[in-house]
């Protein structure tokens, strides 16, 4: 069911069992998981069904750190959220991503890979990929043309990616949400404050506002914030009427550890003879089902004390016409949608779809590197308020020397392997050559993957949420999505954030059976 909150009588009190704040990928996935349960789910979306500038402006903020994308177009503030301009890259996190690594400060999750693994299947279905199996051997059997480079498997491995169509959650799941009897979607319902009870241990209600001047209250037994890493932190910090530091922020951790993947051209691979490289073939929008990137094995990462990362091979011809993402991403969210639409229409004209062009001699390596958790990389509140009266954010994206060292080491290891096997030679780009220089190149971009601002930990001194994504110190407030990631891993977060959302949903179902059964609303 759907209601436009601008059309609801002012000061309405909306009640449900679970209130999900944010109808992006995590919020929609969680809501769908509760269809046909005896619980009333309130799904709040700040925007409507189309992107519009006024809604996007609520996300506008300052960036005082490393160069980054404009915040007003980085995330999409409408039903379906940022899936609206998602490229569709899917790959799971690796076991090492969850482990405590003594060379990576603040690393280690309170859950392990095995805890998340059962939920990848459900996540894979949501994003409409062929399988939750990402083993290279599995895909090799399906397509014998996927020939790997003859590298030492103890040093480098082929990390497989699958590509979602990509699933635009807004259009793909709109009908299912609207038809569900127990899901109540409210659009134009921007949460502006989270209010707790007098003991400051339980969230009692959230307040919502919109541009029509309407204000409402939503009461529920349980609240799930699924607004993306920046907005999740922003809402906790901005809800500071009862706790001056903000909700869940007794240890000044909310908003800290903001991470993205470092995505950048890093080196060239020169080969004397062309090789068949379909496995590493450049991604073609809505066409490529699977490809691999070169990644360092866990044992090699341990040996070199490096972060996790991958490198994709892009034929030189492709890169010649490609400008760095950071230079081309529009500050107008509607333009970012148009950009993807244009790519979609051009797909049949893609030169590199032709199989004879799988053979190349010269590649650029495009690296996607984990960012090490950094408490100084953070979201804070600005004095400036948005149009609904919520403080805007200041982003201070900060990188470390380990991040750069890891990028360089990955190139060197690939260089050693292609040298040892006489495949070719690697040449680092100018900005990576001086190992004593920790400056970053202006072409460095993020992957539009915001993570870490309400990180998961064993205890409240190290994180904001526990292993079940519940905010420490509160009985009924949960965070969904990649804001809970303590480390980012090498893979794009979408598949894993969905898996984590389904794990949270599972946890809430068990809890609901115990706590809601006597007084559920539906």
């Amino acid at each position: 069911m759907h209601r436009d909150a601008t059309q609801v009588e002012n000061n309405a009190v909306i009640e449900g069992d679970i209130c999900i704040v944010g109808a992006g990928m995590a919020g929609i996935a969680m809501a769908l998981d509760w269809i046909n349960t005896p619980y009333k789910i309130i799904l709040l979306e700040g925007g409507g069904f189309e992107v519009d500038h006024k809604m996007q402006d609520l996300y506008r903020g300052k960036n005082v750190g490393q160069r980054y994308y404009p915040l007003q177009s980085l995330r999409l503030h409408y039903f379906g959220g940022t899936s609206g301009h998602w490229a569709g890259f899917c790959s799971p996190l690796d076991p090492i991503d969850f482990k405590k690594r003594d060379w990576v400060d603040h690393s280690g999750w309170p859950i392990q890979y095995e805890d998340l693994l059962p939920y990848y299947e459900q996540a894979a279905k949501m994003v409409e990929i062929n399988s939750a199996n990402f083993d290279f051997d599995y895909w090799k059997k399906k397509d014998p043309e996927l020939v790997p480079l003859p590298v030492n498997e103890k040093v480098l491995w082929n990390k497989v990616w699958q590509f979602s169509p990509p699933t635009r959650f807004g259009s793909r799941y709109k009908d299912a949400i609207l038809k569900a009897q127990n899901i109540f979607l409210y659009t134009y319902a921007n949460v502006t404050n989270i209010k707790m009870d007098d003991s400051v241990s339980t969230v009692k209600e959230v307040h919502i506002k919109n541009f029509a001047g309407k204000e409402h209250t939503v009461k529920a037994k349980c609240f799930v914030m699924a607004c993306c890493a920046i907005q999740n932190a922003r809402m906790l910090l901005a809800s500071n009427q009862q706790t001056p530091k903000g909700i869940g922020n007794d240890h000044d951790l909310v908003g800290r550890f903001f991470m993205d993947h470092l995505e950048v051209m890093t080196s060239s691979l020169f080969m004397p003879f062309a090789r068949q490289t379909k496995l590493y073939y450049p991604w073609v929008y809505a066409r490529t089902k699977v490809k691999a990137e070169l990644a360092m094995t866990e044992s090699k990462q341990v040996q070199l004390k490096t972060l996790n990362g991958t490198a994709s091979l892009m034929p030189k011809e492709v890169t010649l016409s490609k400008q760095p993402n950071i230079d081309t991403f529009s500050d107008d969210a509607e333009e970012t949608l148009e950009m993807w639409d244009k790519m979609n229409k051009q797909r049949d004209k893609e030169y590199f779809r032709m199989s004879e062009n799988y053979e190349c001699k010269e590649f650029e390596l495009f690296t996607r590197m984990e960012q090490s958790p950094n408490p100084n990389s953070r979201i804070q509140l600005d004095n400036e308020l948005d149009e609904l009266g919520v403080p805007r954010v200041i982003l201070n994206w900060r990188l470390s020397s380990l991040d750069k060292k890891s990028i360089r080491l990955l190139q060197e290891v690939i260089g050693e392997e292609v040298g040892r096997t006489e495949i070719g030679r690697i040449r680092l780009m100018e900005w990576l050559r001086d190992e004593t220089n920790n400056d970053w190149t202006p072409i460095l971009g993020g992957g539009w993957h915001n993570m870490g601002t309400t990180r998961m930990a064993d205890n409240p001194k190290q994180g904001v949420v526990d292993a079940n994504c519940k905010v420490f110190g509160l009985t009924n407030l949960y965070m969904a999505g990649s804001s809970c990631f303590p480390t980012s891993g090498a893979a794009n977060p979408t598949l894993s954030l969905l898996a984590l959302t389904f794990r949270l949903s599972d946890h809430l179902k068990k809890r609901a059976t115990k706590n809601f059964e006597d007084n559920h609303i539906v």
Partner: protein, 133 residues
């Protein structure tokens, strides 16, 4: 003491003369040029680039700016003796190639002008730059 110095001095002179004569022979025979040419890398770079890489390497390792030092490092003692005995250039080149692959396998690399090179092939480039000033 004087006797000891005399003996050490004599040994060094003999070894030095050996290396000197080996180098002289190498230069004169033109064999040095062949051994100084990084075969695999030359498929990717032209001679000017190889020279430039060589000069850059020597800036990183100025103590190696002598062809006898570089040649010593390119060939093991055993292969140098074999080479003097059999004059088998193909075998010597093959031994250098093996050494290059071994360098890559054992993390014995150097980054020169961005190129991730085996130390041995970087020395080849350096040797090449000395022979082609």
């Amino acid at each position: 003491m004087k006797r000891r110095s005399f003996i050490v001095g004599s040994i060094l002179s003999v070894v030095g003369a050996g290396v000197f004569s080996f180098m002289q022979w190498m230069r004169n025979s033109g064999t040095a040029r062949a051994l100084a040419y990084p075969k695999f890398l030359s498929q990717l770079c032209d001679s000017d680039t190889i020279q430039s890489l060589g000069r850059a390497y020597l800036k990183l390792k100025p103590e190696e700016t002598r062809d006898d030092v570089l040649l010593n490092d390119l060939l093991t003692e055993k292969s140098r003796k074999d080479f003097l005995k059999n004059h088998d250039i193909v075998k010597a080149e093959s031994q250098i190639e093996k050494k290059i692959m071994c360098d890559f396998a054992t993390d014995n690399i150097v980054v020169v002008q961005g190129w991730v090179l085996s130390i041995t092939e970087a020395r080849q480039c350096a040797f090449f730059s000395l022979l082609n000033p």
